[in-house]
């Protein structure tokens, strides 16, 4: 009972963090701010999945942690290259 309460409190804290980052995504003056906040949202999602798997007492979501980490990193790098050079994948002539 105490465990579930603490896990729900931790989930609420992570949800507040995601909301604060979402504010930065909407308001951010430049696109680099938005990409940075999206990366931070991905990391907070990883943490909330870990908390949720403790709450449900299951091992089934651990693959998801790795998957969201990889996808968030690839998306961030692709966005950064797009901001920097205008293309994601450069072709050699």
């Amino acid at each position: 009972m105490i465990l579930e309460t603490i896990m729900i409190i931790a989930l609420c804290l992570l949800m507040l963090a995601i909301l604060a980052n979402l504010y930065r995504v909407v308001k951010g003056p430049s696109s680099a701010d938005r990409v940075q906040a999206l990366d931070s949202i991905g990391i907070n999602l990883i943490a909330s999945i870990a908390v949720y798997s403790v709450l449900l007492h299951t091992h089934a979501f651990f693959d998801l942690i790795l998957l969201i980490g990889i996808l968030s990193f690839i998306g961030t790098v692709a966005f950064a290259r797009f901001i920097e050079r205008g293309v994601v994948i450069e072709r050699k002539r």
């Binding site: 804290l13 963090a17 604060a20 940075q36 870990a50 403790v54 651990f62 980490g69 920097e84």
Partner: protein, 135 residues
């Protein structure tokens, strides 16, 4: 709660969630991209690492289940979060996102100006060589 050893994991998870919230507050309040990247990369990574290590300890202590996938996730987050922050900051600087009002000095300015000039010169030389070849 079945055992008192799980308390370690639960406390780590709570600390990690609190650090994530603090990093998000920093992400809202700080003035520009370069200062915000401190909040978004360092403390956010610390928060998620605390949470994941707490989860790992919880499952080790309560079930005796040692998850390799969770270890892989921890290592991957620890490796990629600083790289992502660095790539975003470099892209922002190359895209000429302005610094904050109270910035004391900009040490990268001379370096990037020189490099841009070198790149332009190299491009010009390449074009001349190609023209000569085609002629």
């Amino acid at each position: 709660m079945s055992g008192s050893g799980e308390v370690v994991g639960v406390i780590l998870i709570l600390i990690g969630a609190a650090i994530s919230l603090i990093s998000a507050i920093g992400n809202v309040r700080l003035p520009d991209v370069y200062t915000r990247s401190h909040a978004a990369s360092k403390s956010s990574t610390l928060g998620v690492l605390c949470t994941l290590v707490g989860t790992l300890l919880y499952f080790v202590i309560s079930d005796g289940y040692f998850s390799i996938r969770l270890i892989l996730g921890i290592v991957f987050v620890f490796l990629t979060a600083p790289v992502a922050a660095h790539v975003i900051c470099r892209a922002a600087y190359r895209h000429q996102v302005p610094l904050a009002e109270g910035t004391a000095q900009d040490e990268l300015k001379d370096y990037y100006m020189e490099n841009e000039n070198i790149d332009n010169k190299a491009n010009l030389i390449e074009k001349e060589v190609k023209l000569q070849v085609t002629e």
